[in-house]
Amino acid sequence: MSLSRLILRRVALLALVLVAVSLLTFAIVNILPGDVATAILGESATPADLAALRSRMGLDLPLGTRYLTWIGHMLRGDFGTSLAFNLPVAPILLWRLGNSAILAALVLIISVPCALTLGVVAAVYEGSLLDRFLSLAAVFTFALPEFVIGLVLILVFSILYPVLPGSSLMEPGLNPLSQPLALVLPILVLVLHQLAHLSQITRASMINALGSNYVRAARLKGLPPALVVVKHALRNALAPAIAEVGMNFGYVLGGLVVVETLFSYAGVGQLMVMSVENRDVPTLEATVLVIAVAYGVGNLLADIVSLRLNPRLRS
């Protein structure tokens, strides 16, 4: 299949996925007990107050009507109004999307090369003390939830040895990059998790490649060991690792939910958690869709890179 056809097919599929995701999100939020009116007015609200607020927000209309109205606006590029904040969703979401993108991009930029290097080193020295240490560290880190790693990092670097801020509060209108120190801990949490996972994948596929006949042939040809590892083994071992990066893209986005909440980082993950708590359907729908698009595009990019690396996959 040609590259352009693949991209077209994937984009069409993504559109379908988005419709499904939006329907599902809408359905789930409406099945959950409580709605935005109960979230806004709280425990002591009277049934009459709730009814008044619901009718003011149009929540008394049938579900189908509400969904169709919402999707109609969405198709025209109108993300709607947040029911909880009583403000347009688009600017809230865009600002946070930018913040999350910076976080995710930095995590990938740091973790991918590091993980590949660690994986290659572990594979080359398979069975050595270093390899066993790396494996153990990876399993340990991966077994701990991000939330726990985050708490431990805050405890160590913000309280016991206060060298880094334990929260990433941002001045309104400022780019997160203007406070690089505040990014260190959230990035570290996500990078550690990524490293653990990705380095082990790379290690496994490198060991496979290093044991293959073509690598043995290259070695017997008398090529320098470094060249054999990088040019012959790594190039073939990369495809599964890159595919994993694509899959992991979704994982990073999931990690954002936890890390942003823990470090009070104003991103889409935090917005999603709040929208669920507030039963704020328009904001949640927009957030979920944006994350779904990011996930779809991330996977597509990973596939394209894999295809470029390995022509056999193109047939």
């Binding site: 959950l32 007990p33 409580g34 709605d35 009116a37 109960t38 979230a39 806004i40 007015l41 709280g42 425990e43 002591s44 609200a45 009277t46 009459a48 107050d49 709730l50 009814a51 008044a52 607020l53 619901r54 003011r56 947040s82 909880a84 904040f85 009583n86 403000l87 809230i92 600002w95 708490l151 805050i154 405890l155 913000s158 309280i159 206060p162 801020p165 334990g166 929260s167 509060l169 941002m170 309104p172 209108g173 909440t261 823990l262 470090f263 009070s264 104003a266 935090q270 917005l271 709040m274 708590e277 507030n278 039963r279």
Partner: protein, 523 residues
């Protein structure tokens, strides 16, 4: 258990006699007339530094900017900076002049007349007049809007402007406490010409002007240079931010990322209390956690069962475990801990034999109940667990159901028989007794007269202007509520907060929001 820590403020309770005197317009307020009112804290602020932005951190972010709708503590804090109320409560919870300079009752307290301060301007330049008070109250009471501020001005009937600076509030029944009520968090005055935009663009008369709002993250206000109190505020601005985790809050305060931590958890307070560069506070307030035994649902529609359940909890040990001792043991009464209205009463403690025999007398048979709570509202689940363990010793089978808070709001409160709940301090008798127990009141979750004759006594109490007679009525009411009321209140939880030592003239809030007009920052 730690009773009184060195940092805690000793709470001075109001003399209700003074409240009554002031509220009837006999007291100092009226005497002040239109002379500029001097803040009590003025003496302490000699040498105060101008400038700086105070960063105040809450566990959650402001929910909405609408002062009549916000239920989150940070949202109310922002409203308290931007808006003002007709009166404010002083250190003794007495009403003091703010936007109103004096007030008096007519028709035995069924009508109240407020004289308004002159020369006050809203942030957009409009002069503050009686029309603004009328518009505020009418908006609050507009049932079609479903605002949280309904009922904030007492048993409201109508409101009229009488000239430019006088307002008359007419009630459906006499109410002695209107001057206290109008100081409450829902009674903030908005400008009459901004009703359509006020929900998103706050404009008030307060010491700070609205600057920006990042939904879910922060809200900022800046100094109102034309504020009616001379030389106030000191700060250039205030930023309200949110950090959810206790440990991250502590880190932020220590690193000077924030200046004030409001609504600290007990563990956060204990961790910060002896830290260098930090002032930590734990003060007695009337906020409480409760087990609701819904009086309209079985088995609690049986008075004896409600009475029996009051002997189950070991309150002392629950106070120590649930809030690490930062509170006061309570006696199932909704009045503030040291209210002058409290008669001598038996203090409830754990008495399982008595509970068992009362249950046997009740004829309710063996009980197997579901107890609802929400982990999103700590430490409620700890109360639930302690109750379950004790109740099972007398054969009452309890299953704990931990539900998300939104589900709790939708399906549990008012609807299930047994659940945990939490309540803010309510200063007046109107709020702490009438609104909680009268069968017509929205905060009586059972929606029934819990003890025969209670409604009539509550109505009588609200209308009674004479302190001695009122106290006698309150005693009769409490004698009914103490054994049979639907709330098991094991303890009052202290209000805890902390600031860096840079923050000067800070007073921990007794009623939820902090007055930052007099606060300043050292360089």
């Amino acid at each position: 258990m730690e009773k009184q820590n060195p940092n805690s403020l000793i709470r001075l309770r109001p003399s209700r006699r003074d409240i009554l005197r002031a509220s009837l317009g006999v007291g100092g307020a009226a005497a002040l007339g239109t002379t500029p009112w001097t803040p009590a804290a003025l003496a302490q602020t000699a040498g105060a530094r101008q400038g700086g932005t105070l960063r105040v951190c809450f566990p959650n972010a402001p929910d909405t900017l609408d002062p009549h709708l916000t239920i989150s503590a940070p949202g109310q804090q922002v409203a308290a900076l931007v808006y003002e109320t007709l009166t404010e409560l002083d250190a003794n919870d007495q009403p003091a002049p703010r936007l109103a300079t004096s007030w008096r009752a007519e028709k035995s307290g069924q009508e109240w007349i407020f004289e308004l301060r002159q020369g006050v301007k809203f942030h957009h330049g409009k002069e503050f007049t009686a029309d603004d008070v009328v518009a505020t109250i009418q908006r609050s009471e507009d049932k079609s809007l479903g605002l949280r501020s309904q009922g904030a001005f007492g048993p409201y009937k109508e409101v009229r402007a009488e000239g430019k600076n006088t307002v008359r509030i007419v009630l459906t029944q006499p109410c002695a406490e209107v001057p206290v009520l109008v100081a409450n968090r829902w009674a903030r005055i908005i400008p009459a010409d901004k009703l359509s935009t006020i929900a998103n663009q706050p404009v008030g008369t307060g010491p700070f002007k609205f600057k920006d709002f990042q939904p879910g993250t922060s809200a900022s206000v800046e100094k109102n240079a034309d504020y009616w109190v001379k030389d106030r505020p000191f700060l250039d601005g205030v930023r309200v931010v949110a950090i959810a985790q206790s440990i991250a809050q502590q880190a932020a305060l220590r690193a000077n990322t924030v200046d004030v931590l409001e609504f600290l958890s007990a563990d956060g307070y204990l961790a910060l209390k002896s830290s260098a560069g930090v002032h930590a506070y734990s003060i007695t307030v009337g906020q409480y956690y409760t087990l609701m035994t819904q009086a309209n649902l079985p088995p609690f529609n049986n008075l004896k069962v409600r009475n029996a359940f009051k002997y189950i909890l070991d309150r002392e040990s629950l106070l120590a475990s649930a809030v690490l001792g930062q509170g006061t043991v309570a006696n199932d009464l909704t009045l503030v801990p040291d209210s002058i209205y409290l008669p001598k009463l038996e203090q409830y403690g754990q008495d399982l034999n008595k509970a068992k025999s009362l249950l046997a007398e009740s004829g309710a048979g063996p009980l197997s109940l579901e107890l609802y709570t929400s982990s999103e509202r700590q430490p409620s689940p700890k109360i639930a667990v302690a109750f379950k363990e004790a109740a099972e010793k007398i054969g009452v089978n309890i299953t704990i159901r931990d539900v998300p808070f939104t589900e709790y709001v939708a399906n549990v409160s008012r609807k299930k028989a047994l659940y945990t709940s939490q309540w803010n301090e309510r200063v007046s008798l109107y709020e702490s007794l009438f609104q909680i127990y009268h069968s017509s009141s929205p905060f009586n979750y059972s929606g029934v007269e819990q003890v025969p004759g209670l409604d009539a006594q509550l109505e009588q109490m609200v209308a009674e202007l004479d302190l001695a007679r009122r106290k006698a009525i309150v005693t009769q009411i409490i004698e009914k509520i103490h054994p049979y009321g639907d709330r098991i209140i094991p303890f009052f939880m202290n209000y805890m907060c902390a600031t860096t030592t840079k923050v000067q003239n800070y007073t921990p809030p007794k009623h939820g929001t902090t007055e930052l007009r007099d606060v300043w920052l050292t360089a």
